[in-house]
Amino acid sequence: MSEHIVPPKVYVGIFLSLMVLTAATVAAAYVNLGAFNIVIALAIASLKATLVVLYFMHARYSPKRTHMVIIAAVFWLAIMLALTLSDYVTRDRDVAANTPMSQMLGS
């Protein structure tokens, strides 16, 4: 942690940005963008999270090793999601998803 003291108006500014982004994500949810909805939702959430990490959590003013910890955590989560999904998206999934359970049991 550095001794850099963030002035309150920065905090208030970040808070207002977060409010705007929250409104934006709700508004975007009411528009039908198909598969793009989830992308927008996650993008806005990630932007909000980044603001919280950088300013509320002082990551912007923290030593390099703090950045390494944050990047490592995000990277490892990404590995878990990406490599697991790499199994599922490369499979032929039609069978299980479209078979009613009454047919799956006891066959």
Binding site: V6, Y11, A41, A45, V52, I70, L77, M80, T84, P100
Partner: protein
Amino acid sequence: MHRTGELYGQFETLEQQKESAALGMWVFLSTEVLFFGGLFMTYTLNRHYYGVAFGVGSNTLDLKLGGANTVVLILSSLTMAMSVWASHVGKRKATTSFLIATLVLGTAFLGVKVIEYKQKFDHHLIPGYHFQIDYRAQHPAPNDDPKEIEAEKEELSKAFAKDPDLNAHAQLYFSLYFGMTGLHALHMIVGAGMLVWLIRQSLLGRFTPTYNTPVEMIGLYWHFVDIVWIYLFPLLYLIDRHR
């Protein structure tokens, strides 16, 4: 026992102690990312397969309450950050006030969650023997808006046509809903407990510009819990609102 503010025996300087505390808290938060991450992985897969059921489940959530809770929690992050600032510049009374504000907002969040959970209980949406996704549509309460019930019935009949096992898949959605928001709420309760301790320490005048490490560290934890909610809100509440 050491009183807060003193140099602990294993450290050489107060600076080293502070660095260690900060790194320790960040490392702990990275474990929390992976801890919640397992649930996010489960969510991703299940939503991919059972998108229809997830949409139906999501639409039963009260967006007004969820949205309000999001505002409350982000506001509590602001007050938490302000209490860290206040302790940095030596404003003791402000530090305590901001901490109390954070606690109040956090408690309000938890209160709203109780209301939401109770709603789910009333509508037979708790996973288990009595789970029934169309319970409210079949047995509307006297003060339910008839137009809303009609819309829900229509939504459900379309959904059942697309996914005959809607009930079981919706139950998966609600298992994740309760699992993720429940784990989040548990973290908030722990956070609230730590805030109570912080408020007491602050009232006793323990935090000064040279020593405010507990405020900063618990602040980091609180912001992390906020970030989890920032992701939970769109993922649970906003799946299918454009229907």
